[in-house]
Amino acid sequence: MVNHQTDELIITRILKGDSAAYGALVTKYSNMVFTLAYNIILNREDAEEVAQDAFLKAFNALPSFKKQSTFPTWLYRIVVNVALNKKKLKKFIVADINEEITTEEDYKIYPLLEQYESRDQKKFIQLAMSALREDERICITMFYLNELSVSEIHELTEISVANIKVLLHRGRKHLYAQLNNLLKTEIKNLM
């Protein structure tokens, strides 16, 4: 809440003509915007270009920011639009989802993962993330990293709420499975 109030103060300053204040918002959200763009595009150079374009568009559109949503949610909407334009898509393509939500998920990877150094853990997580299906990866990114609610993800992606829930569940399951495979392969290689 405090963060969003700070955002509003910065936005007020920018709208009064202090465009240099925008740098604070760029610094604050650059990694999250880049992470979202990267998980949609899966190419660092293109994702950085998308992130820059999104910040530029957001700056130009600031006078029309109605404060009906928070600044980051509004910004992520711009990122999604710019990334989709880059991919020459009108909306996200979601394959048929017929899977029911089950409660079983594999949590055994945590003790295994904790045996590795931070640098290696980061490598495994990033590899596992990039191995996910696109729709699952985007939902996981928006939900866990960008901290968007299911209804906000629905607004941004036009994927139905029920499908987002299934994609999140399936994404988690696949992420654990990928991590499990990666860690087992690593242990085999070490032996």
Binding site: A51, K57, N60, Q121, M129, Y144
Partner: protein, 119 residues
């Protein structure tokens, strides 16, 4: 739920991608360039003045058209010696119509394009 929180912590710690070091600088530089370009391309004629001129032009046209209905057999106060073929006059009229049509379309286009430029 606890595991979900654990996954969130793990992802925030390790799955956040980092931009290049000069990212903020690049964005701010592009904003400055854009602002500079905007100041250089600002129209010399203010939009409101353009609107007033357009309204004045249209009102004069309407007044002249109405007057032309009531005034008959007008004698020009000067001798118009230049004899141009009728086709020249029709060409001038068509040019004026085409010019104002393109001008209005351009104004309308600029307005809508400016509105839709952001999102």
């Amino acid at each position: 739920m606890q595991e979900d929180k654990k996954l969130k912590e793990l992802l925030i710690k390790y799955a956040v991608e980092e931009t290049s070091e000069d990212f903020t600088g690049n964005v701010m530089q592009r904003i400055e360039l854009m602002a500079a370009a905007k100041t250089h391309t600002t129209s010399l004629v203010k939009y409101n003045l353009l609107k007033i001129l357009l309204i004045a032009f249209l009102s004069i046209c309407v007044v002249l058209l109405i007057l032309s209905i009531f005034i008959k057999g007008v004698q020009l106060p000067f001798y118009f010696s230049l004899k141009l073929p009728a086709v020249y006059f029709s060409q001038i009229v068509f040019f004026l119509i085409a010019f104002w049509l393109v001008m209005l379309i351009n104004l309308f286009w600029n307005k809508t394009h400016y509105r839709n430029d952001y999102l």
